[in-house]
Assembly symmetry: C2
Homo-oligomer: 660 residues x 2
């Protein structure tokens, strides 16, 4: 709830006293509240277009849904007066004005923006400001002047490894709009699937997708949906590697002999396009032409990552081609060959009116500079590009599938680390960042829980001032935005509940929840080392249900810091006793079969924590021998149990140390 | 989970040992399980049609969603072999064969049915049989021979008082199919809204709906969606009363001078169609003709309920008409006038090829017998109709909006009470029943929680044998089906969680939940006596959030019966302490402002219960003076607090009595 004291704040102080996420550039809270009731109405003035009318209707509907207040038809005075100066670009561009000014008084709110993009951003802010107090729903008076720090704030969604249907994509766009993201990067092809209809090459999706692909009509629907929310849509067709799914229908594109089938496993595979055949470029010319017409955005992503070169090495004709070009260094010749391919593809992309994007690997010394590099390698790689005069965006640090905490992502800054010593002109080349959700371990039912709410922390990093870095306040607001996202239709909370129910299968859910709340999946790529996963492996176990980041562990760590013994004892007791409660549920649910060890460990660790509390409360030093035993126990608990980590180990260790 | 003992059971014993709802007519559980994994596949043999293909795909998809198992493409052996004999009627009719036979062995399941309706019912049974045990997901071997007891098993949905959008209708149909209901009765017009497009009379929806109506294309979509699930769609256009929304666009239809506006309040209103003008019938002839073509079902509902006659009494021309017809008895003349109207309308309905349905009031001695009476009055009224040779269905006892318990609804039998002494021929005239959800206090967000899971208990009453009456087992299975319905997309659980969050507005949800779990809204029509509600009154308070029937109160009553002192103490302590925990949340949420009294009362009642336990455990008799004071407290607690009831009062009273 917003406090009602009048003061003018600049970030980072601005982050106190309101629940907005991302934090606006400038905010001053005022006195009194604008009441929200059934007479709420938006009035549009100035430049008008259908997108604005729809946004106003959507704002009203979203507000009605989250408050439960039905809005009356009819002509009450407008509660929110919107003024838009002029149209934005016909096709949303990277460098557009997204600023807005929002002034809320107890009588009325007024939103001013140069163009519809600013209006859309300001409306999201207004919606976030609606809250409840003892007087009812309302918006605390405030003056906000806001614009983004970075012009490129995106999310890459991999719909290739696991198919994500249309409604999942739309939900994702709803969430993106809510936190002011503006680029939807659609990873549409990979070894495991080719996910968009090509009319010129129908066997791409026809044979490469198990029937799970977007029709061109659906693509247009998504683009319109995104544009309505101020979001650009950039397609990615990964080449020359990550392309097995293309070869199922068109094996002649590959560098090795076919036939090919859709890959069902994860990892880097050998098949790669043949960069030496002119037919490859003829195919790509036609294909890129078709897709460039379908996707209006100025940018076009060609992937370009992770070619292992094995097919190239095994093909005598390709070997000969390399020799003929003088690429004879065994270490580098495949890089040189890929650079050749990238230049050729860039020419095609340019021919069809687009600017090329590729992952780090595409950046080679002789590539023309009209390219944008998306860096999975980090700020240093990005800085190197910027120094070469190449635009870049950061994705390193923003891979949501690696199961890092929101705080970890929040700490990654496109202009931080290896990019912090750039000069102003070079800094301008770093356009922003994109989170990425690779879908090896993500199904449609898991998508929201893997993206949200952590995505909102990244969105704030990309929108808000660089000095907005208070992690505790970020988490406080993340809880709020997480609830708001559920009202928009995201399912990261509700689906979690259903998955817990599934694990318990009619048995008591409480002990399953208690365990799920304090475990996390292993981080980075550790999961694939434990078990052989394929695209048909069910993702319905505890590791899938558990949140990427344990909220309870975080909260417990706060209790330890605060020495809140009573609450610690409550938690520790529940954890100690949980294994006995869980046992009968485990016995009748195969989905819980792998979790016995970590459940026992939770009990043991909690018992150690309780003993530590006993020593602390008694004012005694724990005997060295006891400490030694507990430390050994905690060392053991620190290790992954299969694919699971016990996330309360660090704060309990802290307790054991305090008891020394 | 199904037990694995081989025994052959007939209902009611059949209700033990499985989770099916409705209970099938015959079930014998076998030994072993059919494993459900990613190779699950349905194969159709015999008669084929698109509806069956879609049903097979839907079954696979629903199973995949609820288990979290992705299904592999490709030709594994079919796990479920379906054989369908022949087509069902082109337009689903009331008297069609819905029987099926389902045999599950550890190797394969086989479903046989005479027509697609039986296949659809059998597939729902198979889906309900999927569960999880220590070996994974599977279906316990069984032989089932099943058919419904009643041919007419419906739900009436009022989309007039509160608008219910298309997705809410579709969700409802999904739920209906899951529990084998087969009639969707769509209450499309009332004083508060005319909800379907008429091309002949565009002002009906154009002026009578605030823009919230179904286009004819959407109607066709709903009909196709329902047919795909074996559900008939019957429209209701209520006349001559309950018709104010018609008069907004066409005031000449009314018996009193206009102009008219959409009603915003609840109750019975004066406006009624003018039964004396031939223009009225000309209008209705055209309108019914248009709607009869749009809705293929053989039945057409004309409402006919609750005409208060005031406009008729106030209109001299209508008075004169009655005199001319010799209807001069002041008490009965309006009934006679309505009977005249009903006969005229019935002629029109028949002319357009339909059979008329009306509420009790339409049944008058000289009405031709080709009518079906829907009884809100009860079995006696239905029996009277049956004795006159008129078909009937029961809705009395099945009004879901009256906030009765599932057990109450479960006890109502179309052939019970006043209909129990009919002869066989008369019994055949009672076709079944329809639940009804009138929407005065139901918004789209509340719809699922007001219909489900209680609807499933009524569905069982209408499908299963009359002697399936074990209430405790019904509740056990209702919990299971409730979870299954959420997997289908119903939101009665997830929306409840969101509404609790809304009430707490970022504060702790736990004390709000504790209170919400033990209160119920007042029953029947008591709510309107407490507060003046309109269609714009937000339904977002505790009374709306609370379930119609407190599960916790029911469970606590079981603990009292079982004398489970430890668990009772746990609950009572939580309730006693809840008021203090809730107070700070109440102080900052206007939505909780009315709940202070009942929260305090919960604490007081729980304290009484704890003291009673103390006496019981100490083996002492409570002093008479103490008993007297607690009884007075409980008398007070029994009374509604505004619109809320404290549902744990009866079991705590039991404890106080035990302590005597």
């Amino acid at each position: 709830m917003m406090t009602k004291v009048l003061f003018f704040l600049m970030a980072p102080l601005a982050i106190w006293g309101h629940d907005l996420m991302p934090v606006p550039a400038k905010i001053a809270l005022g006195q009194g509240r604008l009441r929200i009731d059934g007479n709420f109405r938006v009035e549009l003035t100035g430049y008008r277009e259908a997108r604005l009318e729809e946004a106003a209707a959507r704002l009203t509907e979203n507000m009605s849904r989250s408050t439960g207040i039905p809005m009356r038809p009819g002509a009450s005075p407008a509660a929110l007066l919107v003024h838009c100066e002029r149209a934005s670009a016909a096709v949303q561009a990277a460098r557009e004005d997204e600023s807005y000014r929002l002034v809320v008084t107890p009588q009325q709110a007024r939103l001013d923006a140069a163009n519809p993009l600013g209006v859309l951003r300001g409306m999201e802010t207004f919606l976030q400001m609606v809250d409840l107090d003892a007087g009812g729903f309302g918006v605390t008076a405030a003056e906000i002047a806001d614009q983004p720090r970075f012009q490129w704030r995106g999310l890459m969604l991999d719909v290739a490894r696991h198919w994500m249907p249309l409604d999942a994509v739309k939900r994702t766009l709803d969430g993106m709009a809510a936190v002011k993201l503006n680029v939807f990067h659609w990873h549409l092809s990979d070894n495991q699937g080719f996910r968009v209809e090509s009319q010129r090459f129908p066997k791409l999706a026809g044979m490469g997708s198990d029937g799970h692909y977007f029709t061109q009509e659906q693509v247009r629907e998504v683009i319109a949906y995104a544009r309505g929310r101020g979001i650009r849509v950039i397609p990615e067709f990964d080449m020359p590697g990550h392309a097995t799914a293309w070869f199922v229908g068109y094996p002649e594109l590959a560098s090795g002999p076919g036939p090919y089938t859709i890959e069902r496993e994860w990892g880097v595979f050998d098949p790669a396009m043949d960069p030496t055949r002119e037919e490859t470029y003829k195919f790509l010319d036609t294909f890129i032409g078709e897709m460039a017409a379908l996707f209006p955005d100025a940018y076009f992503h060609i992937g370009g990552d992770e070619v292992n070169g094995k097919q190239w090495d095994a093909n005598p004709r390709i070997q000969e081609f390399k020799r003929a070009h003088g690429w004879t260094n065994k270490e580098k010749s495949n890089e040189e060959l890929q650079a050749y391919f990238t230049r050729r593809v860039q020419t095609l992309v340019r021919k069809h009116g687009k600017k090329m994007i590729g992952w780090d690997e595409v950046l080679t010394p002789d590539l023309p500079r009209d390219v944008l590099v998306q860096s999975w390698r980090g700020q240093k790689s990005l800085a190197a590009a910027a120094r070469q005069g190449v635009d870049g965006i950061l994705s390193h640090g923003y891979y949501l599938d690696l199961m890092y905490s929101a705080a970890d992502h929040y700490a990654a800054d496109p202009l931080g680390d290896g990019a912090s010593d750039l000069n102003e002109e070079q800094r301008q080349r770093i356009l922003g960042g994109e989170a990425a959700i690779w879908s090896e371990y993500v199904t449609p039912e898991l998508l929201d829980a893997r993206v949200w709410p952590r995505m909102a922390a990244i969105a704030e990093r990309l929108w808000s001032r660089q000095d907005v870095t208070d992690v505790a306040d970020m988490y406080r607001r993340l809880d709020v935005v997480s609830r708001e996202l559920e009202w928009l239709g995201l399912t990261h909370v509700s689906q979690y509940e259903k998955m817990l129910e599934r694990l318990a299968d009619g048995g008591p859910v409480a002990p399953v929840r208690t365990l799920a709340e304090v475990v996390e999946g292993v981080k980075e790529y550790a999961r694939e080392e434990v078990l052989k996963y394929t695209s048909f492996t069910p993702l319905n176990r505890l590791v899938d249900t558990a949140r990427p980041e344990s909220q309870v562990a975080r909260q417990f760590a706060v209790l330890v810091e605060a020495r809140d013994v009573a609450k610690m004892r409550e938690w520790l007791t529940r954890w100690r006793d949980n294994d006995a409660r869980l046992a009968p549920v485990e016995a009748s649910s195969e989905l819980l079969a792998d979790d016995a060890e970590i459940s026992r460990e939770l009990s043991a660790v909690a018992a150690a924590g309780l003993q530590a509390l006993d020593y602390i409360q008694a004012g005694q030093h724990a005997p060295a021998e006891w400490t030694e035993r507990q430390t050994a126990l905690l060392e053991q608990a620190k290790k992954p149990k299969g694919v699971l980590l016990l996330s309360v180990e660090p704060p309990v260790r802290k307790l054991v140390e305090l008891a020394k």
